[in-house]
């Protein structure tokens, strides 16, 4: 039933012979990878750092110097130690929430896109309803209701409030894959629904899923920071948001104690930028239409096409036999 447009879509998704050469990783990709690896390394460095984040090494907002690279925070803790522990917590929350959100989103999206009909309407209706309610509001409501929040409960809560747009994106992709012939073949040969979804639909949207996951991770890190700054963060843990929360509460910005609030701000920005850059460079790898920066080549190609068209026109008019090939031989 889908024969008319099947060749076009197949052409776009056709597996390439040498993936790494045609992947064409841009400079943007390497920059983003460096940023993310750098932040992860900072988080892991906390294990090697001698001072623990809970250790009191000075008084209120001691400036950097005297062995403390970034001074002390409002509790007299070493800012660098707190920053490392906080980065690690934020990354863990991002990862867990990203996995939860992407899993829910992919399952709902695949089911809706593949099964279709009223089921799709229902699932997507529910998704759109959830999508319309700002997730930070739901997060606030859940967080004030939880008697005690740990980093794990927070991660899962963030995960279950941020799946909808992944579901919507996956649904759009899955419903186009579901019309392909190989899915019909799988169905005719008696494959079950989970098998078809896992083996015949999911691989085609995997690139999409990876990109969605990357964005979910950074979104979750920012959501945690936002909640923590509002005072709803995980209790008894260090995170980038909690660090900022205390810095704001103890007037670090107004007092000019830049070492207390700039490091977490910068790390949050770098994490968010790094993941977004990674997503957009992956997008360009997977979607050639977005690839730019080769305008010169495009212009050359256009000039070549124009030249060919001109030659063709010159040939066609004197010959006058070509235009009437309505029968389409062979």
């Amino acid at each position: 039933m889908s024969t008319p447009n099947a060749p076009v879509t197949d052409e776009k998704a056709a597996p390439r012979s040498n993936p790494f050469r045609s992947f064409n990783f841009s400079g943007r990709f390497w920059i983003s990878l460096m940023l993310i690896v750098g932040v992860i390394a900072l988080g892991l460095a906390g294990y090697l750092y001698p001072t623990s984040p809970g250790e009191k090494v000075g008084s209120l907002y001691d400036p950097p110097g005297a062995g403390l690279l970034l001074g002390t925070d409002n509790f007299g803790h070493d800012v660098l130690a707190v920053l490392m522990a906080g980065t690690r917590t934020s990354l863990i929350i991002g990862l867990v929430a990203g996995i939860v959100a992407t899993s829910i989103g992919v399952v709902i999206g695949l089911l809706a896109g593949y099964v279709g009909g009223w089921f799709e309407e229902l699932l997507m209706g529910a998704t759109n309803v959830v999508l319309a309610i700002p997730s930070i509001i739901v997060l606030i409501l859940i967080s004030i209701s939880l008697p005690q929040s740990t980093i794990w409960s927070l991660a899962i809560v963030i995960g279950i409030t941020s799946w909808p747009w992944t579901a919507r994106a996956v649904r759009a992709q899955a419903s186009s894959v579901a019309t392909r012939e190989h899915v019909d073949v799988a169905r005719l040969s008696g494959a079950r629904l989970p098998g078809i979804l896992l083996r015949d639909v999911l691989p085609y949207i995997l690139s999409y899923t990876v990109m969605a996951f990357v964005l979910q991770v950074s979104g979750a890190i920012l959501a945690e920071a936002a909640l923590s700054m509002l005072g709803l963060g995980p209790s008894g843990a260090n995170s980038l948001g909690i660090q900022l929360h205390w810095a704001l509460a103890f007037q670090a910005v107004g007092g000019g104690a830049w070492w207390a609030f700039l490091p977490p701000t910068i790390i949050l920005t770098l994490v968010s930028f790094g993941f977004l850059l990674l997503q957009s460079s992956l997008d360009e790898v997977f979607n050639p239409r977005l690839r730019r920066g080769k305008r010169k080549q495009m212009k050359q190609a256009a000039a070549r096409r124009a030249e060919e068209a001109r030659l063709l026109a010159e040939q066609a008019f004197p010959a006058d036999a070509e235009p009437t090939r309505a029968g389409d031989p062979a």
């Binding site: 759109n128 309610i133 930070i136 409501l141 936002a226 005072g231 968010s272 977005l290 920066g293």
Partner: protein, 336 residues
């Protein structure tokens, strides 16, 4: 005709979303193990600022107000009735004050910052993104990278940087607050002039990030449209570039309108913390104080108001989309 049906269908979905949001707002704080009033009152008592007499008064007031001894569905109906008559209850932390008054004082500040930020940010962002896509080359690369950086920046991070850089270090803008000490909010030239100097930083931190996000979206949409078959066809027909640009712009604009709906939700959430950073006396600061004081009625009122505002904004955006895009009307009249 068809547009009417589209609006009715959309209105139906948004009504469902509204009911879901109001129910969540009602139910979630009630999932606290035990009676929420016990938790609140014991928290208040722990602070030590409240006498036994007051404590009892608050307890009974709250139980009576929400009818906590009644079954859940009856409580829900009471809640709905109160909400729809515009009664948001009484604050705990500032006991006799009504939530309506507290929110009423905070809301104008938030609206004054966010509404212009959304409108100006959307227009400027789309123009910048479209120009980047059409010009291409280095212009595109630099605009895209900086827009991506800005859009990736959380609102509050930019707020902190701006506050420190422009207010604390450079001293161009006042540090925190919404107006100078000693002034009271009123409609006088002196007060407004003073308030404007405090207004810039929160406004800038919202609008700059918003411009970044919109520009990134518009750029990729315009590039996508540039590769469309109809563009090639129009070129082959010898239509001038200016005309084609118009077509591309119109088509690339449409997804941006839907994008606006989502962006508003994110902006409103981000603005909460931006206000906190600048101690701007808006809804965000009120929410923060309410959270630290376990002031459940205020928290619930704010979450409700924000949800309703975002839903209404999204609904208006969808209506605008239906009016602008003829395909929507045609499609919703047809099968899908």
């Amino acid at each position: 005709m068809t547009l009417g049906r589209y609006i009715v269908r959309k209105a139906g979905w948004y009504l469902v979303a509204l009911v879901a949001a109001v129910s969540l707002n009602f139910l979630l704080p009630r999932l606290v193990p035990g009676n929420p009033v016990d938790v609140i009152v014991s928290n208040l008592a722990r602070g030590g600022s409240i006498t036994g007499e007051q404590q009892k008064q608050i307890y009974e007031g709250f139980v009576a107000e929400f009818g906590l001894d009644a079954p859940l569905w009856q409580q829900f109906l009471t809640y709905l009735g109160k909400v729809f008559t515009g009664d948001l209850g009484t604050s705990f932390a500032n006991y006799p004050a009504s939530v309506n008054d507290l929110v009423g004082q905070a809301l104008p500040w938030s609206v004054a910052v966010q509404l212009p930020a959304v409108l100006i940010g959307w227009i400027v962002g789309n123009l910048v993104g479209a120009i980047a896509a059409f010009r291409g080359g280095n212009w595109d690369r630099s605009v895209f990278t900086s827009a991506l950086f800005l859009s990736a920046m959380p609102y509050y991070c930019l707020s902190i940087l701006l506050l420190y850089g422009l207010a604390v270090v450079a001293g161009i803008f006042p540090v925190g607050g919404a107006y100078s000490l000693g002034l009271t909010p009123e409609f006088s030239v002196e007060f407004l002039w003073d308030a404007v100097s405090y207004y810039w930083l929160p406004f800038l931190s919202l609008v700059v990030v918003f411009i970044g996000g919109q520009a990134v979206g518009m750029r990729s949409m315009a590039i996508y449209e540039l590769g469309g078959d109809y563009v090639n066809y129009a070129r082959a027909m010898g239509i001038r570039d200016n005309k084609i640009t118009q077509y591309i712009f119109r088509n690339a604009m449409l997804p941006q309108i839907t994008g606006l709906a989502l962006a508003i939700g994110t902006l409103v959430g981000g603005a909460l913390i931006t206000e906190l950073v600048f101690s701007y006396p808006g809804v965000g600061t009120l929410l923060f104080n309410a959270i630290t004081q376990n002031d459940y009625p205020v928290i619930q009122a704010i979450t409700l108001i924000i949800t309703v505002a975002v839903l209404v904004a999204n609904f208006l955006v969808e209506i605008a989309y239906g009016i602008i895009d003829p395909r929507i009307r045609a499609a919703s009249a047809g099968e899908k």
